[in-house]
């Protein structure tokens, strides 16, 4: 039986990135897309708790079923796995995101939220992001990268409870230097909110922000991307800091 691949994203079901991803996935097997009907960027792993979800069938033909859901990327993964997949998928994919999810951007990303959700449920999963925010971003150079990684994971699997955060530099096919396994870079977002005053004199604040990552080490995703490589960070959903458990022992003296 052909592999079954479940796909979602956070840019919405109509985004160019998810079309490119679906087309490459179809080369490997059957594809089910369950994606937000709207833009759900920056939704992290959020869940919809205050209202029920609706699903609209967008397309059903030639091995590709596409559904739009009015929930978050995590909602999409849970709902598709339980109610829309005819059998257990072999792989869960998310993206291709319009914009970077490298470094700590993984914390906020709806694209990677969906991937982490799939990981908790025991599925191999890959999130793809292109370092280009435009709705009209060119995903042609991303296709061979996606093809290689999807093929590799379908053939070899992933270690248990591990998924991949893949970021692709904004370069032409010939300028991409290769693929690097990396660590997540340490960084922070500063100057996050811009204050403005409305016509009635009342303040309001817009999210903005400056990404600050100083001297990323050469085994990190920011270094790889800055040097023309695709970064692949294997990630997990256990946030425990084991070293701190040793260091904090006196906290138990209560």
């Amino acid at each position: 039986m052909k592999p079954l691949i479940l796909i979602t994203n956070d840019d919405g079901v109509d985004a160019r990135g998810i079309h490119a991803l679906s087309e490459v996935a179809l080369e490997f097997g059957e594809v089910i897309v369950m994606a937000p009907s709207h833009n759900a960027s920056g939704k992290s792993l959020s869940l919809t708790t205050d209202r029920p979800l609706r699903v609209r069938e967008v397309r059903q033909a030639d091995g590709l079923a596409v559904y739009a859901c009015d929930g978050t990327p995590v909602d999409c993964v849970k709902l598709a796995l339980e109610h829309f997949c005819p059998r257990r998928p072999d792989l869960v994919l998310s993206g291709i995101n319009h914009g970077s999810n490298s470094s700590i951007n993984i914390l906020y990303s709806g694209t990677m939220g969906a991937v982490l959700e799939a990981t908790t449920l025991g599925f191999p999963a890959i999130g793809f992001s292109l370092l280009h925010h435009s709705p009209n971003a060119d995903f042609e150079p991303s296709r061979p990268i996606v093809r290689h990684l999807v093929g590799h994971v379908l053939d070899h699997g992933l270690p248990p409870d591990v998924s991949l955060n893949v970021n692709i530099p904004r370069l032409g096919t010939d300028d991409i230097k290769g693929i690097r396994l990396c660590r997540q870079s340490k960084a922070k977002w500063l100057d996050s909110f811009e204050k403005r005053i409305d016509p009635l004199g009342r303040p309001y604040w817009w999210l903005t922000g400056k990404f600050v990552c100083q001297n990323p080490p050469d085994n990190s995703d920011e270094w790889a991307l800055a040097h023309g490589y695709v970064s692949v960070v294997p990630v997990h959903t256990d946030y425990t800091d084991q070293a701190a458990i040793e260091q904090l022992q006196t906290i138990e003296q209560y």
Copy 2:
């Protein structure tokens, strides 16, 4: 100068849990509360990108300033740190959440989303949760636990880039056996969506779900909580799986 403590939550500025947390924090220093004006449970680290934020001053007296914001818990932390704190806070607190954030619940939690955000920005931070969902939950037995941990962290700090996920069992003061440093338990949420049919015959899906955590090891948070202990999991924001980097080397052959 007295310590400055920034507090947020995800249950909203009016929740009993954040009142209890603010009262204990006031024993240690000045307190600024910037919390969602509404319930923001399950918002993870989501950001508000599609509209600007508004802030309402709720109270300003006796070392306690309280603001309500129409954004997410992460928005609250960013906005408060940049525009509302008179100086750099010594500590960021979140909670006390009405309900558990142990195990993989940390992935979805707005309470812990705020804590992880503060961690990326270099602040020591603690998230508190009580294993009791009711809006009328009794936070009295939580107070001495919060007092001990806040005092400990103000006195001794935390390792760099580490914050604490604290869960408190639903027990009376005398029945709480102590505090245990733990690892995050592995678990999954199953049966997440219940399908219903509306009066016009159309389907809709409500989030529900069954938390499944089998045989948690005795160094894990689920074990500690089930045995009457407060669980303290030191967490970080680097999701890299280092072991997988070694195991996946062939993926670079592109």
